[in-house]
């Protein structure tokens, strides 16, 4: 279990993390979602005691991480796969980590095998691809068989096979009852792996909810219907209390189901060529939610269907 209580980090005038409080529970994968520069890595570093919070505190298993007696038994973390000395072999790197906590040296080969690096343990890390470095970082995180795992953007730079492997690994670690906290700036990635989401933007908490609720609560769905008799269909729908707008040959309805539209058309014998429900994509949901909180923007946000925006904003509040 990880707890953040009012975590705050200020760099000069910049508030990188702003009064962040959340709890990460065991047994599920919790996604830590936010655009680049939202403060995800800083928060993770504060949880691990690498950065000192300006205010607030973070607890792992009920106490500050720095007080852990056997730290690698409590937390395994992969922050940046490039955070290793390239001059060492993978074995020497892991052995030094294992020795520092008094873990048996036999764990080194075990975690190398687990992460698919069994045959390259004697090679220098400097020659590793980014994917191999990610696996090595995960091997280091698994050394102490810890109850809490933290991964910062673990799928960055991985090939499709590596991405599948990480998703499976995170879910199986959670299924074993561990706390798994994984950051990403990709909503689609989180939708596939995380059951729960902690969403931040500009260091502030935007949402702390289950992934399902997050998507349901923030996505906008709309019924679109194509008909050769748009005026007649719009009229009958209005009679039944549904407002339809005509957009590019389609009628769009924000407050009706496909069943209601189909029934209305059938009652008057109107022809329908196409009828479907459209949901805004996960990335759209995320973009809407974090639009005010992206650190670096390339200009005005892309324009989207006008009726989507207020709905998504409201849901986010």
């Amino acid at each position: 279990m990880i707890e953040a209580h009012g975590l705050t980090k200020r760099y000069g005038d910049t508030l990188a993390v702003d009064d962040l409080s959340f709890t990460v529970r065991p047994g599920i994968v919790t996604g830590f979602l936010g655009p680049n520069g939202a403060g995800k890595s800083t928060t993770m570093r504060m949880i691990l005691g690498l950065d000192r919070p300006t205010a607030g505190r973070a607890l792992v298993a009920g106490k500050p991480y720095a007080q852990a007696k056997v730290p690698l038994r409590e937390v395994g973390a992969l922050l940046d796969a490039k955070d290793v000395h390239g001059g060492r072999t993978a074995q020497a790197h892991l052995l030094a980590l294992a020795q520092s906590n008094g873990l048996p040296a036999s764990r080194v080969q075990e975690v190398l095998e687990t992460t698919g690096l069994g045959s390259v343990g004697g090679k220098r890390i400097g020659g590793f691809s980014l994917g191999m470095s990610q696996r090595l970082g995960i091997a280091g995180a698994l050394l102490g068989d810890p109850a809490v795992l933290m991964f910062d953007e673990p799928v960055n730079g991985l090939d499709p096979e590596g991405i599948l492997w990480i998703r499976h690994l995170m879910r199986s670690l959670a299924a074993e009852g561990r706390t798994v906290f994984v950051s990403s700036h990709l909503m689609s990635e989180m939708a596939l792996t995380a059951e729960h989401l902690v969403v931040i933007g500009r260091g502030r908490l935007l949402a702390d909810t289950s992934t399902r609720q997050f998507i349901d609560g923030n996505s906008v769905s709309m019924v679109r219907v194509r008909t050769p008799q748009p005026a007649e269909l719009a009229a009958v729908l209005r009679e039944r209390g549904h407002a339809a707008t005509e957009v590019g040959g389609f009628l769009e309805l924000a407050d009706a189901t496909t069943e209601q539209v189909g029934d209305a058309a059938a009652a008057r014998g109107l022809t329908i060529h196409e009828l479907y429900q459209q949901r805004s994509s996960l990335e759209d949901v995320f973009m809407e939610l974090t639009r005010d909180s992206v650190e670096y923007s390339t200009g005005p946000a892309p324009t989207r269907a006008p009726q989507e925006i207020p709905a998504a904003r409201q849901a986010a509040r």
């Binding site: 529970r25 065991p26 047994g27 599920i28 570093r45 691990l48 005691g49 690498l50 950065d51 000192r52 991480y65 720095a66 007080q67 852990a68 007696k69 056997v70 730290p71 690698l72 038994r73 937390v75 973390a77 922050l79 940046d80 490039k82 955070d83 290793v84 000395h85 390239g86 001059g87 060492r88 072999t89 020497a92 790197h93 052995l95 030094a96 980590l97 020795q99 520092s100 906590n101 008094g102 873990l103 048996p104 036999s106 764990r107 280091g140 102490g144 068989d145 109850a147 299924a175 074993e176 009852g177 561990r178 059951e195």
Partner: protein
């Protein structure tokens, strides 16, 4: 949804954690597993011993031209270590790298996640560096001393380990070399930046001690006497020159100097983000 965590294997549960012994073992693994460590040690051996031997040869070859005063003041121990003044820089650079290479590569984050007790990490690094520096120093000191005496014997100005002060000066040379490693480590712990630290170490141990000779008057004498390498090398003299501290006073001054830097590094370590 949530299941109980499978109990870990006994050998993992039995792990004793970040004891000083464990952290020390880990830091030694880190130092010995880098090729750069052994290249730096080799450079120290080659420069210290090679240059000392060349100067031994030059001293003996020019003995007839030297003045009677120079001959009377000839220190057959200190003069066997004439290459150490340059070769010490390799050990000092090793000391810098032991700390700064972790920061330049980012490996320090993996280190502090595994061992959040940072002072213990720097303490373990210091012990590893002191022991490695002393071991390398012993090899350099004894080889330089013994080879030097072979040269000096040709002019009958050699000495032996049994003579007064000689063993102290030879062991002192090893201690001085270890101190240079610690000086580098201390500078590295303050600056954390490899090129900057190496520049600082070369300036403080090599360039400025020589330049300090140019400062006039009694202030200049004091600065020269107490300046890092000048002070530390006093322990390698059997015949203490006029402008030098006594052997152990000099070594103590040098030690206090790097200890101040190391304490500063420790204080900064507690406060800084990584």
């Amino acid at each position: 949804m949530s299941t109980a965590l499978t109990p870990a294997r006994g050998d993992l549960q039995a792990a004793r954690g970040t004891t000083f012994g464990n952290v020390l073992r880990s830091e030694w693994t880190k130092v010995r597993s880098l090729r750069s460590t052994w290249w730096t040690v080799l450079a120290a051996l080659v420069v210290c011993i090679g240059l000392s031997v060349l100067i031994d040869w030059a001293i003996v070859a020019n003995w007839d031209q030297s003045s009677p005063q120079d001959r009377a003041a000839f220190d057959p121990v200190a003069n066997a270590f004439n290459g150490v003044g340059l070769g010490q820089l390799a050990i000092a650079v090793l000391g810098v790298l032991v700390v700064s290479s972790e920061y330049s590569t980012g490996g320090v984050r993996a280190t502090f996640i595994a061992v959040p007790r940072r002072l213990m990490v720097l303490g373990a690094k210091s012990v590893v560096m002191a022991l490695l520096g002393f071991a390398v120093g012993l090899v350099i000191a004894f080889v330089c001393f013994l080879v030097g005496q072979v040269f000096f014997a040709t002019q009958d100005v050699d000495t032996s380990l049994g003579s007064p002060g000689v063993l102290r000066a030879v062991i002192g040379a090893a201690l001085y070399i270890a101190g240079c490693g610690m000086f580098g480590l201390a500078v590295g712990s303050v600056l954390r930046h490899t090129p900057g630290s190496i520049t600082a170490v070369v300036a403080l141990l090599f360039v400025l001690p020589l330049l300090s000779l140019a400062i006039p008057g009694s202030i200049g004498d004091a600065v020269t006497k107490y300046f890092t390498a000048n002070a530390g090398q006093a322990v390698t003299y059997v015949m203490t020159p006029d402008n030098s501290l006594s052997p152990w006073a000099g070594y103590a001054a040098f030690t206090v100097e790097w200890l101040i830097l190391l304490v500063l590094g420790l204080l900064l370590l507690r406060r800084r983000d990584t």
